[in-house]
């Protein structure tokens, strides 16, 4: 196939899509063209209209105006299922499968091979194994989906979509929860699909990945088409400018010089802290005004470490000392009483309470610490919410909006606000910038620096090494559920961290 050389006939042509919700224009006359065998990046900040465009294309949301042609035939799917039948499949960031069913059942759900009306389990498993082998995945297809990593779940979802005779595959932030190796596996899958002439719409926040694999970029901003061009004609700086509508400060990626004064006051110290099956015993010292970064592959014990520190899981060995005194940390409540705060990695399942308002989400931890019997008055709540909405630039700046309606970046900011409202002496952030747009990303990094300057101790888990380098005073590298290296001062750079992570061959993830 020579898809990129012979572009005349588009595979998918979207013309003049518009959609508004109760007066709010989410999409304004957007055009989008996808050619066969093309990997097409769809970019934009959160709220730019990417999600709405995808949902109007796949019939999840009905469009107000516009037409769409697949192979020159006009189509108008009225539901995601119908879109799949027409050849338009979508894989979402949060995998939309049944976690308690087996991998094979998930792959063939609703279209199981049957004989005389009975599901042929053996045949189904055989086909499941064959299908996944195409994608370099060799796993027990009879095991429940939830027993595998998010990465495997993702590849299963893609395999299911492709196998349903997809002509167009929409990947909505598939790489958000994958580590570098898993991303490579996914890219291999995408290249293979490209060779088959399938058109891929690729939504991501990782610009490196865009340049690594995409043929063409379309950028949306505020519901409008901001620009569309082949990859060669759009250098990074132009792209970022298109996305943000402004220049990104170079400072966000540069490590600022540090002045090493007298060692800062110790906030908390953990000796031999650990838990069987979660993370091997480790030592960890957190100081006022210092950022300790935790780096490592997915599943290396980063999240486990911070959960123990916050008491979300109870350590079964070691001691903790807070402000010079022995402390017991058996529950989040105890950790909070010691002045700890924790923004978990799983924003939706462990962070926000989607139905509650931004205000209620922000005051939740402070209220919990005060106890039910000393409620914050509505006026106090309003003041706290207003303060942090302003301070963190949470959008829309409406404290009474259910937080579930906000974009990921703004949800994350509100969660930060929840903990900042408790004025913690130690703030634990687990992947604070995951899945949020470039603008919010930069703001959160700036915020981390500011908090640090104010004397708060920070413990940050991040997969974005460039980010860690910019703010961490110390980086602890984890591998196979153990702390394996400690980098400080001038040692902290991406290359050193990568070297520490890779020192011994990292355990292959389940996808290998």
């Amino acid at each position: 196939m020579h898809a990129t050389e012979t572009p005349p006939r588009p595979l998918l042509a979207v013309t003049g899509f518009s959609k508004s919700f109760a007066g709010f224009v989410a999409l304004d006359r957007v055009d989008f063209t996808l050619r066969p065998g093309e990997i097409h990046a769809l970019l934009g900040e959160n709220g730019a209209g990417k999600s709405t465009l995808i949902k109007t294309m796949t019939g999840v949301v009905t469009r107000d105006a516009g037409t769409m042609g697949l192979d020159g035939v006009e189509i108008a799917p009225r539901s995601a299922e119908e879109a799949v039948r027409m050849g338009l499949a979508t894989v979402y960031q949060e995998v939309n499968l049944a976690p308690n069913l087996s991998v094979a059942q998930n792959l063939f759900l609703g279209r199981q091979p049957t004989r005389f009306g009975l599901v042929r389990e053996g045949e189904m498993r055989r086909r499941a194994r064959a299908l996944l082998a195409e994608f370099g995945l060799s796993i027990d297809v009879a095991a429940p989906l939830e027993s595998y990593s998010v990465a495997v779940q993702h590849i299963v979802a893609i395999a299911r979509a492709v196998d349903q005779s997809a002509r167009v595959l929409i990947l909505d932030e598939p790489t958000a929860s994958l580590d570098a190796h898993e991303v490579e596996v996914l890219f291999a899958v995408m290249r293979q699909l490209k060779a088959r002439g399938i058109g891929i719409v690729f939504v991501t926040h990782f610009l490196d990945q865009v340049y690594a694999i995409c043929d063409r970029i379309t950028v949306l901003r505020n519901g409008r088409l901001a620009g569309s061009a082949p990859i060669a004609e759009m250098p990074r700086l132009d792209l970022v400018r298109l996305m943000l509508g402004r220049e990104l400060s170079e400072a966000t990626t540069e490590r600022p010089p540090r002045t090493e004064d007298a060692p800062a006051a110790e906030v908390a110290a953990f000796r031999g802290f650990g838990k069987e099956g979660m993370v091997a015993p480790f030592d960890l010292t957190l100081r006022a005004g210092h950022v300790v970064g935790l780096a490592g592959l997915l599943g290396s014990g980063r999240t486990e470490t911070v959960r123990l520190v916050f008491g979300a899981d109870r350590a079964d060995c070691g001691t903790a000392e807070v402000a010079g005194r022995a402390a017991s940390i058996g529950s989040p409540r105890e950790a909070m009483a010691l002045g700890f705060g924790y923004c978990p990695e799983e924003r939706k399942t462990e962070g926000i309470v989607a139905d509650l308002t931004v205000r209620e989400n922000i005051v939740l931890a402070l209220q919990a610490r005060r106890g039910a019997l000393s409620p914050l008055s509505r006026r106090e709540q309003d003041a706290i919410a207003a303060k942090f909405i302003r301070l963190l630039d949470i959008r829309p700046p409406d404290p009474e909006r259910p937080i579930g309606l906000l974009s990921g970046g703004n949800q994350q900011k509100a969660l930060l606000a929840r903990w900042l409202a408790t004025a913690p002496r130690l703030l634990i952030l687990d992947e604070p910038t995951r899945g949020i747009d470039v603008g919010a990303h930069a703001e959160i990094i700036r915020l981390i620096r500011e908090l640090c300057a104010e004397g708060m101790a920070l413990l940050v888990v991040s997969s974005e090494l460039e980010e860690l380098v910019t703010y961490a005073d110390e980086v602890i590298v984890l591998r196979d559920r153990a702390h394996v290296a400690r980098l400080g001062g001038e040692q902290i750079d991406v290359a050193s961290i990568l070297a520490a992570i890779a020192e011994a061959p990292a355990a292959p993830p389940a996808a290998a």
Partner: protein, 336 residues
């Protein structure tokens, strides 16, 4: 997690209005109210008075459901507490009688809360235990017969009146006010909604979710005890076989009609009570209508279906529909 459209309660109040209007059409004297022996007398007052037990149950139930729980035992707890009250009424002073009955309700709630919060048993199973066993306990207390009493003080709680309003109505209003005070006057309401909405996130935010779980079941037990006392006081006796029978289902229905999701989260005590009144208005209407009793359940089912359909976001008018679409489009993630 389903986003819900702002809950103004309009659809519930509208439903209540329509049913009351329908009652007036089948029974033109429906809105007539006169004073009889110093108390208000009329079908409308009957709706309030007869609706009191289910309204009381729904006040406790709505908190339990907001916490993603359910309390199937309330009908049986009514029977137990009513039996205790009736058995003690003629031999003990009213405060002792009330303390014993309410104390029993509290214990029942503690038991349910213990099973759910400490042992981690699913609420529907945990409370099913007391639902079945509780009626047996009540029968043991009454020795299988209807225990009657003559104590005028206890009788007053069922048949008396305060400022013209039947005592059960006053007790229900009082319980509702007290619950609103406890729940909305403190941060408990916020904590219940947060825990029901996302238990893991709430625990990580430092909310004592187990303690609150126990507390809502205890409150539900207390509400059921009060409902049991009212039911016994009403008929001047304790009928362990029939007191509160199936009322747990009416209470759950009242909460659902009141717009609180069985998946927990946002709740409204007031609308749950409105839900109970909707159910009772319907019952009273059926009794007034003169339809043959064989049609009772069918009529009820049709009305409940209509009320719930009217509240369904997919059918609930253009505004509500738009709200749902909007939440789908902006909250990210697929939704079936």
């Amino acid at each position: 997690m389903a986003m819900r459209f702002p809950r103004l309660g309009t659809s519930q109040l509208l439903a209540l209005g329509v049913i009351l209007l329908a009652n007036w059409m089948v029974s033109p004297q429906f809105f007539d109210i006169r004073v009889q022996d110093g108390r208000l007398f009329g079908s409308l007052i009957d709706v309030l008075n007869r609706g009191a037990p289910v309204a009381l149950l729904s006040i406790g139930m709505v908190l339990v459901i907001a916490m993603r729980g359910i309390d199937l035992s309330v009908g049986a707890v009514m029977a137990i507490c009513g039996a205790i009250a009736a058995s003690l009424a003629d031999s003990h002073a009213l405060p002792v009688v009330l303390a014993a009955a309410l104390g029993a309700g509290l214990l029942c709630g503690l038991w349910n809360g213990f099973l759910v919060a400490v042992l981690g048993i699913q609420p529907i199973v945990a409370t099913l235990i007391l639902m079945v066993a509780g009626r047996g306990i009540a029968q043991l207390i009454t020795e299988g017969r209807i225990v009657t009493f003559t104590s005028p003080q206890l009788a007053f709680l069922g048949g008396g009146s305060v400022l013209g309003l039947p005592t059960p109505v006053v007790l229900t209003l009082g319980m509702m006010a007290l619950t609103l005070l406890v729940v909305r006057g403190t941060a408990l309401g916020l904590m219940i909604e947060a825990t029901g909405g996302n238990p893991r996130a709430s625990a990580l935010a430092g909310i004592g979710t187990k303690l609150i779980t126990v507390a809502v079941y205890v409150w539900s037990g207390l509400c059921a005890a009060l409902a049991g006392i009212v039911a016994s006081a009403d008929i001047l006796g304790a009928d362990a076989n029939n007191a509160g029978l199936w009322l747990e289902l009416d209470a759950i229905l009242a909460v659902v009609i009141g717009g609180t999701s069985l998946f927990g989260g946002r709740f409204s005590i007031l609308l749950a009570v409105v839900g109970a009144l909707i159910i009772q208005a319907m019952n009273t209407g059926i009794l007034l209508s003169g339809f043959p009793p064989e049609t009772n359940l069918v009529v009820k089912a049709v009305v409940v279906l209509a009320v719930l359909l009217a509240q369904s976001p997919r059918l609930g008018g253009a505004l509500a529909g738009l709200g749902v679409l909007f939440s789908r489009a902006t909250s990210g993630g697929p939704r079936r």
